[in-house]
């Protein structure tokens, strides 16, 4: 079993790799389309700007590779910006097109009607994940309890067109937003499981167990 951590050159992938190591997943950081396609599963991490990330993904020839990877049925695990990139478009500094593996868009938190500092943006810190339409059994959240705290650091959130893909929601200010999704072989979280302590590592462990069964 081999897992590729997709490197599009904008973020720190060290923590994702360290989390993989911690639970016994063999991973490699790669920017090469052929290496991605030859792996059993892939992680699409990400910190930084949507448009910058998409530019680099295209420049490195990774857009087509990611789409082919997903249509081959292998598991793709998106994290934070890696969740947002799966959608059609983002409102960050103009409109930008994403990978369009899922229908819907990426929006910015807007609490301009609130007290200035009541709900700071970016949201930095811990928030509860609450189940939505899907049961967490048979997903990578299978070892998480309802209301588990996960670590978030983001100003944008996804708004899927098909609500059935939503695996969990979280609430920040007066905004209930999608905090993880699952659609067929795609699983992605707005929070950072590799920064969410022992509970977060459980998600990596489930990812590994699921792969060992299915590869």
């Amino acid at each position: 079993m081999r897992v590729s951590i997709i490197d599009y050159k904008t973020s720190n992938l060290h923590s994702v790799k360290a989390a993989c190591e911690q639970v016994g997943i063999t991973s490699r950081i790669t920017s090469k389309p052929n290496e991605l396609l030859s792996s059993d599963a892939a992680i699409l991490p990400g910190v930084g700007s949507f448009s910058g990330a998409m530019q680099n993904i295209r420049k490195l020839g990774l857009e087509e590779a990611i789409l082919n990877f997903v249509s081959s049925g292998k598991s793709l695990f998106g994290i934070c910006l890696g969740l947002q990139l799966l959608f059609e478009k983002s409102e960050e500094f103009g409109t930008h097109e994403g990978l369009s593996l899922l229908r819907g868009k990426v929006k910015k938190f807007d609490f301009s009607n609130e007290n200035k500092h009541k709900y700071p943006v970016p949201q930095i810190g811990w928030n509860k994940i609450i189940s939505k339409n899907q049961n967490w059994q048979d997903t990578y959240l299978d070892n998480c309890d309802e209301g588990t705290h996960m670590y978030f650091i983001h100003s944008f959130y996804v708004e899927p067109e098909d609500e059935a893909v939503i695996l969990s929601t979280s609430v920040y200010g007066n905004q209930r937003y999608c905090s993880s999704i699952k659609k067929e072989n795609i699983f992605a979280t707005q929070f950072h499981p590799e920064k969410s302590g022992h509970k977060g590592l459980e998600i990596y462990r489930s990812f590994k167990n699921y792969l060992s069964i299915n590869v």
Partner: protein, 281 residues
């Protein structure tokens, strides 16, 4: 209520965790990565490493410490001290940090804040503000661990770094730091009430009430504490420090620092939750 983070701050000098008063007068406490791991296991929400002498010495030992820590703790790690340019950020992130904290370089060249946050994303860039209250009642920014006065007024600077793309403010009161006299709630609330990015309060906590106060009155989004946590556990691991360099007289003396109420993060968070503060525990 939003979730409030508890962030142990670890000041580092060479290979050691140290603690000072007013950002100076350092005492050696031990191996920072051991403290970080201990705090992680105890429910810390993040960890901050501050290299206290980065602008004066080489940084190889810091890179090693970051590297080791990042393999052992699975919560965010922020590293500050001596971040001068984009390549410093790159190196610290590559060693395993999740965020960088910048003070001096941002004051000297404010465009650096724009450049860094555009490239690495706002959420990676923390601006450290070290403030001192002057006779006119206003707070001013100092750099180089409180040694250099800049003449920049604190609130103006907070608003400026926010508009330049900083993702968070790490706010230290030099007057209070290491004294145990409580946070400078006036300073913290002045900044918190006027910016819309998170503010981490630091400097002065010696008992639980200080923490409660800075959350309710100071409107801090996170509290960063050092002495209260360090002194509680330093004695239990001091036997390993026999070969340490630096001022270890404090450790050998086996004294608790009596101004500080030693506390563990687990119990601190329980107390916070009982007072209606939303924490992860």
């Amino acid at each position: 209520m939003k979730n409030i983070r508890v962030i142990p701050r670890l000041d580092i000098k060479g290979p050691n965790l140290v603690k000072g008063v007013h950002l100076e007068g350092l005492r050696v406490l031990g191996d920072p990565s051991r403290f970080a791991k201990f705090y992680y296991e105890n429910g810390a929400d993040e960890i901050i490493y501050q290299d206290t002498v980065a602008s004066l010495y080489d940084r190889n030992s810091l890179t090693e410490i970051i590297n080791k820590t990042a393999k052992e703790i699975f919560i965010p790690l922020t590293v500050g001290g001596g971040i001068r340019d984009m390549s410093d950020i790159h190196n610290v992130l590559r060693a395993g940090a999740d965020k960088v904290s910048i003070n001096t370089a941002a004051v000297r060249n404010p465009d650096f804040v724009n450049q860094a946050s555009q490239f690495y994303g706002s959420s990676t860039i923390v601006i450290a503000m070290e403030c001192l209250r002057k006779n006119d009642g206003d707070y001013y920014i100092f750099t180089d661990n409180g040694r250099e006065e800049t003449g920049t007024e604190a609130l103006n600077w907070a608003l400026e770094v926010e508009s330049r793309g900083a993702g968070e403010i790490f706010l230290t009161s030099i007057d209070k730091e290491g004294t145990g006299k409580g946070f400078d709630v006036e300073l913290i609330s002045k900044i918190s009430n006027n910016v819309s990015i998170p503010v981490v309060a630091h400097g002065g906590a010696s008992k639980y009430d200080h923490i409660k106060d800075v959350v309710f009155s100071g409107k801090a989004d996170a509290v960063s504490i050092a002495s209260m946590l360090h002194y509680g556990i330093a004695s239990s691991i001091k036997s390993e420090q026999e070969n340490s360099e630096g001022n270890i007289e404090f450790l050998k003396s086996n004294s608790n620092y009596k101004n500080f109420e030693a506390i563990e993060i687990t119990s601190l968070k329980k107390m916070m939750a009982q007072d209606g503060i939303n924490v992860r525990h």
